[in-house]
Subunit: 374 residues, 2 copies
């Protein structure tokens, strides 16, 4: 396969089983990408990431720009070598974090001036700067620089923002000159179907190797996102990967694959793992609960990950209550394995023409269970 090629191998309704070729090898979709914000997926080695089935690691442009800085990473041979990950890397544009983490933002047509959340130092990111950072990092999949709108926003704000995001996309494309990288455009448009379609038309008018849906997970009701993805997902170009940014729960993933989405990323499985919340095929578990105190069984009897194979719930509870690093590690391994396994089974189901069956199985499991949970 050629760099950037996206081959749809099988379809069932809107769900797709496909392969995307990157400079660091093929990615089998649908896929969940592990978030490695600061050049490390928290608590995990690259070998462990491979073991749980990770194909793509996501790096955060905003964080890496502030520390250690993309120039340093470039000098050290790029992000792959720096963090010892030889699989594909996707970097975000920095836009989302500039708008959510930084202080004292100053927006203009040119870009965004902001102060670092680390030390208050002034920084400026424009589409050109974002491309430069991501190219210096040596990213395989580079995201266009977009404005991430607050929620809720007025129709006027949304329109203005989409138009700016479009102009920034054109500048991103002009500035992204690295042959080994693929540039993905980001569809914005808030939480209205009509504005989403408007942004989709704008963004897909630019020929790119992939397109993403951004601007979700900003505090909106989750049903609204599902509704929009269900409508907009299938409208996205058939022959290009579709990436739903920053999403989500196992339920979100299954519903979105059903709407034709191919790629996902989310901090949730790793973040909640460190807080003792674990995804299992029987629902979510809070490992600190007293009921697991003397529970000698595995976290998830239906799971074959390293954690479930070797440790008891009682031990995981003890590690969590004792604040032990190994607790964060074992929990993260399990949650990532769960997500990767969820997607692997989805790929197999689509290949074998039983996607709907698998989807419904997952829905029964996750909807029932999620409602019970705190």
């Amino acid at each position: 396969m050629q760099l950037g090629e996206f081959k749809v191998l099988k379809k069932e309704n809107n769900a797709r089983r496909a392969t995307l070729m990157t400079h660091h090898g093929p990615v089998q979709t649908p896929t969940f990408m592990a978030v490695g914000t600061k050049a490390t997926v928290k608590a995990m080695t690259p070998e462990e990431l491979k073991d749980v089935g990770t194909q793509v690691v996501l790096g955060n442009t905003y964080h890496l720009h502030l520390r250690p800085g993309e120039k340093l990473v470039k000098k050290m041979g790029g992000l792959h070598k720096f963090m010892n990950w030889n699989g594909p890397i996707l970097t975000d544009s920095g836009g989302f974090q500039v708008f959510s983490l930084s202080q004292l933002r100053n927006m203009s047509e040119e870009g965004v001036e902001f102060r670092s959340h680390l030390d208050g130092a002034k920084h400026f990111i424009s589409p050109e700067k974002s491309m430069e950072i991501q190219m210096d990092l040596g990213s395989d999949i580079i995201m266009a620089f977009d404005e991430c709108l607050k929620y809720p926003a007025t129709p006027e704000e949304i329109k203005k923002s989409m138009d700016l995001t479009y102009r920034w996309l054109l500048r991103s494309k002009a500035a992204m000159t690295r042959k080994e990288s693929l540039l993905f455009g980001i569809v914005q448009g808030g939480l209205q179907i009509e504005s989403r379609k408007y942004s989709l038309d704008q963004v897909t008018s630019v020929d790119l190797p992939g397109y993403a849906l951004g601007g979700f997970s900003v505090g909106e009701p989750i049903e609204l996102m599902h509704e929009i993805v269900k409508e907009v997902g299938p409208m996205m170009p058939e022959n290009k990967p579709r990436y739903l940014m920053g999403v989500g729960t196992p339920l979100d993933l299954i519903l979105s694959v059903d709407s034709g989405i191919d790629m996902f990323d989310c901090v949730m499985p790793t973040r909640v793992a460190r807080n003792g919340t674990l995804y299992t095929w029987q629902g979510k578990i809070s490992i600190k609960r007293n009921e697991y105190k003397e529970d000698s069984g595995p976290l998830d009897p239906e799971c074959d990950c390293y954690t479930c194979t070797n440790y008891s719930r009682a031990y995981l509870r003890h590690l969590f209550l004792s604040g032990e690093i190994l607790g964060s590690r074992l929990n993260t391994i399990h949650n990532l394995h769960f997500y990767m396994s969820l997607m692997k089974k989805a790929r197999q189901a689509i290949e074998e023409g039983r996607w709907k069956e698998y989807r419904d199985f997952c829905l029964t499991r996750f909807i029932k269970r999620d409602e019970k949970l705190t």
Copy 2:
């Protein structure tokens, strides 16, 4: 070999190369034991412990008694199964922590009443209770319950404490009824050669499979410890393992092996690793230092551990400054590998009749370098 057998394979001056048989297999000495206070060697999996060359893991009776409790551990199949470590485990008696960590102690002939540093709850440990806890944990090497004296202490205080420790040793021996476990006695006696000899006579008058030197690392000048170990080490029974508790730096280990010591444990390599201090064959390193910012070389060019094989100093510095768990992990792997490797080389050197050469090589490296360090 039979359980508890200690076979000295080779000697060079006072340094010994030997094998101790435990219920979970043989231990090759001299050896450094990794401290796994709360049923986990901080930041490490059992597989990683094996990879760096760990033979014995040490569990802390005080901590495990308070949380999760030895009865729970026993119910879960014992400490080995609970923490998934199938090699030998040594447990301390709880004495050291009762005297250093707990509050409101109330000492009597019977034992020590104290309040937990976790929740202030009242607990009582006696020789019998300590044995019961360690037997419940399923420890391979059980330490007698001793009084750990404060430093400095008067000759009267030392005498009184040694006599109490001796009476507690007799009670420990009577209470330690688990056939699979080996009971080690602890020589106390403060920092006077004469009182150490007095305690040594007392303790070795009880026939046991091993003897330890306790009561060091309590704030005394390190030269004083070296002097006493040099004198007392070779006086300990020839045909039994000699364990120097809670010690120490690489230099301490080499000097003590030279004084006939076989076994060591210390939190130092794991604790300082998490604070970014790393032992290398070129001396100690503080990874946060600015000089490593753009250093693409390995932590220790003379080391073949996982960390040194795969990561740069620049990356380790970045992980440390970012507070990333992977930083603690990679640093711990390296430091433990360094300690285990130091002891492995010592075993090889003694076997091959070049102990003095190896010792002097180490001294040149560590004495020179240690003086430079902060």
